[in-house]
């Protein structure tokens, strides 16, 4: 066994990092214990804890193809279709256990995409990226590290290429080449779990052309490298976490986070560089990373499981669970959720082996899956709010329920049945609020929309990947336009 860390060891490993983190305009000296950040650390810690539990380890762990040791699946390079399927199942499992973004998939997807592209660049240019990559991978696996997968640049004016932007730093680029490495400047936006990561893996965000080759770079650095600054993203309802452990936070255990990560003239040694100006490989890297990451939205099925469970519970608390339209809406929620599960399993089951030996998902089906993800969670959330009733947004606070003055009124008027404690009703409503419009809606809704690429990015891929000629050929034969076809 490599070092399969547990939750406590992971937390301790984060304490050793010297991250430069800012939030609400102030430097955060101790991100691990910061009440706003802490639930997101708990969610990543869960990926460690569950790897040690016999009832989850079959999904949560894998066998390293480089050392043969048992490792956390989040550091694994997929070696079979079964590995790909297990990855989808792990997403659902962890989504259902945390009801939030557990942040660790993006680094796994970066590692897998890089394993394919570094191998491909070497095959063309006789470079040594793949060798470097495998050494890096072994380090990540042996130390059971969390990697931030950093693809998205701020991008400035979306209609312009990187080299045409008014500010060259709007896309990450090389500013100096030295005998021992390169110096880079730029930023990565929306970085999931950045402050809970040991490493940051940078990739280009779009296809680069020759004139943009200074932007065609990929590398990995320790997250506390000098020159890297993290500016935390705000989430709706985030400061409820400053109110103590009241049920108003909705999810009492877990959360997610994103950050804007700035690289101000940061040095990268050559052994950590995985692409350097080979711009013609950017499309492959971006598309494969995107395909893996679109598969990773399997996690939303797990969050959907929790939301459906919460919705059934509030229906029972409210006494509406036997109404035919309520039953039907819950069937619809399950139907949508399981349809999402079909997509992430299908793209994995139809996966294939790349020349590096890495298994890649079926890219068309991964895009179809993610396209559904941009829609169905919104509908599931809408149905949850429908069944929950208006109290999901008008509910007095936990402090009001506890108040010696008005607590009795909240208790009396928000009670639905003698055997349902009012507090239980408010707790489940807060969870629904959390997932559909609070801190967890970042992950369940808007990340479903934009994470791993906005909806249009998938539609472009779908248009490119379907075999339209074959569809036409069959149609033309069957209606008699052509005499051969089958």
């Amino acid at each position: 066994m490599g070092k399969l860390m547990n939750a406590k060891e992971y937390e301790e490993s984060l304490r050793k990092l010297k991250l430069n983190v800012y939030m609400f305009g102030r430097k955060v000296e101790n991100p691990v214990d910061d009440p706003i950040i802490r639930p997101s650390m708990n969610a990543v810690a869960a990926t460690y804890e569950f790897a040690h539990r016999p009832e989850y380890e079959d999904i949560m762990t894998a066998k390293s193809h480089i050392t043969g040791k048992k490792i956390n699946r989040f550091t694994h390079i997929h070696q079979s279709v079964d590995d790909l399927v297990k990855k989808s199942k792990m997403g659902r499992l962890l989504g259902s256990l945390t009801a939030c973004c557990f942040q660790r998939c993006v680094g796994m997807d970066a590692l897998n995409a890089l394993s394919i592209t570094t191998h491909a660049i070497d095959a063309k240019y006789n470079t040594e990226y793949y060798k470097r990559f495998l050494k890096y991978l072994e380090y990540v696996q042996e130390n059971d590290l969390v990697c931030d997968g950093a693809m998205t640049d701020p991008k400035g004016d979306r209609s312009l290429a990187p080299s045409k932007q008014f500010d060259p730093d709007l896309f990450m680029h090389v500013v100096e080449e030295r005998p021992d490495g390169i110096v880079v400047s730029g930023a990565k936006a929306h970085q999931t779990g950045a402050v809970n990561s040991h490493e940051i893996i940078v990739m280009p965000t779009i296809t680069m052309r020759e004139e943009d080759k200074d932007y065609a770079i990929s590398f990995a650095l320790p997250s506390d490298t000098e020159g890297i600054t993290y500016i935390m993203g705000r989430q709706s309802c985030d400061t409820r976490k400053l109110e103590g452990m009241t049920f108003d936070r909705g999810n009492m255990h877990y959360g997610g986070h994103e950050a804007l990560v700035v690289f101000d003239k940061v040095f990268v040694p050559w052994e950590r560089v995985f692409m350097y100006k080979e711009y013609e490989f950017t499309t492959q890297l971006v598309e494969n990373f995107a395909a893996y990451h679109r598969q990773s939205y399997a996690c939303k099925v797990g969050v959907g499981d929790v939301l459906i469970g919460a919705t059934q519970t509030i229906a029972e608390f409210n006494g509406t669970e036997r109404a035919s339209h309520v039953k039907d809406k819950i069937i619809e929620m399950n139907h949508l959720n399981e349809t999402l599960f079909c997509g992430c399993i299908a793209c994995a089951a139809e996966g294939h082996r790349e020349p590096s030996g890495t298994y890649l998902v079926d890219v068309l089906l991964a895009n179809v899956h993610k396209q559904n993800i941009t829609r169905f969670p919104y509908e599931i959330a809408r149905l949850a709010q429908d069944i929950a009733g208006g109290l999901v947004v008008t509910c007095p606070s936990a402090a009001d329920l506890a108040s010696p003055e008005v607590g009795k009124w909240v208790e009396k008027y928000l009670k639905t049945k003698p055997d349902v404690p009012t507090e239980h009703r408010l707790r489940i409503l807060r969870l629904i609020e959390n997932i559909t419009m609070g801190t967890a809606a970042v992950g369940y809704l808007t990340e479903s929309m934009h994470g791993a690429g906005s909806p249009q990015a998938q539609r472009i891929m779908i248009a490119r990947l379907v075999n339209m000629k074959q569809k036409q050929k069959m149609a033309r034969f069957l209606c008699g336009i052509d005499s051969s076809g089958a």
Partner: protein, 98 residues
């Protein structure tokens, strides 16, 4: 008798796998010792799967009997089978003793 327990990952288990194993431990207490799946003394490995796909690989299990439980009913069958086998074994030992 020692029986190894190997769980699937439980991504969409149709029942509570851990609760079921705890019940099994109760029901066959004294007759069966539950151990980890890699325990060399385990005569049998019981795969406890949350659904019928039973996706856990059995490759690593060599030279030992393998049984699958994918539902609460399967568990009942398994308990019956184990208790009958143990009864039969006791019968054989007693017959030899006579």
């Amino acid at each position: 008798m020692k029986v190894g327990i190997k769980y699937c990952g439980g991504c969409r288990a149709g029942y509570d796998r851990v609760a079921l194993v705890n019940r099994l431990k109760n029901d066959v207490a004294g007759a069966v010792d539950f151990v980890g799946p890699d325990d060399p003394e385990a005569e049998m490995v019981l795969f406890v799967s949350g659904c019928k796909s039973a996706c856990t690989s059995i490759d690593q299990i060599r030279g030992r009997a393998v049984r699958f439980v994918t539902s609460e009913e399967d568990a009942e069958h398994w308990i019956r089978e184990v208790l009958e086998n143990i009864q039969a074994e006791i019968g054989r030992i007693q017959a030899r003793g006579r």
